[in-house]
């Protein structure tokens, strides 16, 4: 995926002499090539999401899909929101916010490596990049060996392309949704499949196993208990499960890390 280093140096050396418009063109093209796998992934996932949201939520307009994709750009969150929109009365605004925090807490961590570099970018570009910082985009721009203006151009292009793919995919799906020639019964499985795929990829790393096992087993127990003892309330168990999971994980945190809890407070206090 990454171009060889020698080639990259060559591009930089050539572009220093060429006029500014020309100078960024190779980087734009490289950014497009680097984002091709994301094109395939986002288009399929976007279409799946669009079809899902239109068929599951009655009266959902394609325009809403576009706005939602443009301002959220988060596959897992949007898939989860389908379930919320379907049973909208059962979810309060605060519940939705908490669920969004839980699902997307990882994005907070993604921003950390870029703090120093992005601070020098103009504010509109920085906020655009922050908006588009997804799993896939993060992976691509982490792997980029560029520096300075070329890096900025590359990162901006990758983020822009990825947001565009996602919006195009979801709107296409939403427009297709009600005109599919076959029965869409069972399409809701795509949501589960997406989560399973992400989980499998995460579990390739040994360090993620404990989190996955704790998360999965706690949720299984909580939902099973709720279904047996409090039928009808089982769809409100997510928060309870998450609280238990965080508690368990903090208990298991390595001791050296645990006593640094106070560090967070110190950080916040001295802002």
């Amino acid at each position: 995926m990454e171009p060889p280093v020698a080639e990259n140096i060559h591009v930089q050396a050539v572009s220093r002499k060429s006029p500014p418009g020309r100078r960024y063109w190779p980087t734009v093209r490289e950014a497009f090539v680097a984002s091709l796998p994301v094109l395939m992934g986002y288009l399929t996932m976007g279409i799946a999401f669009g079809v899902l949201v239109v068929t599951q939520v009655p009266g959902f307009h394609a325009g809403w899909t576009f706005l939602m994709s443009l301002f959220t750009v988060s596959g897992s969150m949007q898939f989860a929101s389908v379930e919320m929109l379907r049973n909208a009365p059962q979810y309060s605004l605060i519940g939705t916010a908490i669920l969004a925090v839980l699902i997307n807490i990882r994005y907070t961590v993604y921003g950390l490596p870029f703090l120093r570099v992005w601070r020098n970018y103009p504010w509109w570009l920085r906020w655009g990049l922050i908006l588009g910082l997804t799993d896939e985009t993060y992976a691509i721009i982490c792997a980029s060996p560029r520096h300075g203006k070329l890096q900025r151009c590359f990162v901006s292009c990758v983020v822009f392309f990825d947001i565009a793919y996602w919006c195009i995919g979801t709107v296409t799906g939403a427009l297709l949704g009600n005109h599919l020639p076959f029965s869409t019964e069972g399409i809701e499985f795509a949501m589960l499949a997406l989560f399973v795929v992400i989980l499998v990829d995460l579990c390739r790393k040994r360090e993620n196993w404990r989190g996955a096992v704790v998360g999965g087993s706690v949720t299984t127990v909580v939902i099973a208990l709720a279904m047996v003892f409090f039928p009808g309330t089982a769809n409100k168990t997510l928060l309870i499960a998450m609280a238990i999971i965080i508690g368990l994980l903090l208990r298991n945190a390595p001791a050296a890390k645990r006593h640094k809890i106070c560090n967070i407070y110190l950080h916040i206090k001295y802002l």
Partner: protein, 104 residues
């Protein structure tokens, strides 16, 4: 929802605006571990929500489990999210379509 997601992404940029470059280790730890836990939680939750909470339909669980296995296997071997998601979903839809007449 969008507001929360954007705020989450912007959070580190807002908090660590000053010269402080080191991030608290606990945040680091939680960020690493919580992702897997949250996704695992969502897996179980959406698996359970396939068979309708208020009116449990356990036959659907019976179809969803093999389909999940297919998804996992595809992702482990082919390593292409697109293939895995489409394969698993097709498997579930076919099971639901053809077995649905035997086990409603």
């Amino acid at each position: 929802m969008s507001a929360v997601v954007i705020a989450l992404r912007a959070l580190p940029f807002l908090i660590f605006r000053g010269g402080q470059q080191k991030l608290p280790p606990l945040l680091d730890y939680l960020g690493k571990v919580l992702t897997a836990a949250a996704i695992a939680m969502l897996c179980v939750y959406s698996l359970a929500s396939l068979c309708d909470f208020s009116n449990p339909n356990y036959a659907r669980l019976l179809y969803a489990l093999p389909a999940t296995a297919v998804t996992v296997l595809l992702q482990l071997t082919v390593r292409n999210p697109m293939v895995s998601i489409c394969g698993g979903t097709a498997c579930y839809m076919l099971l639901l379509h053809f077995m649905g007449t035997i086990l409603p």
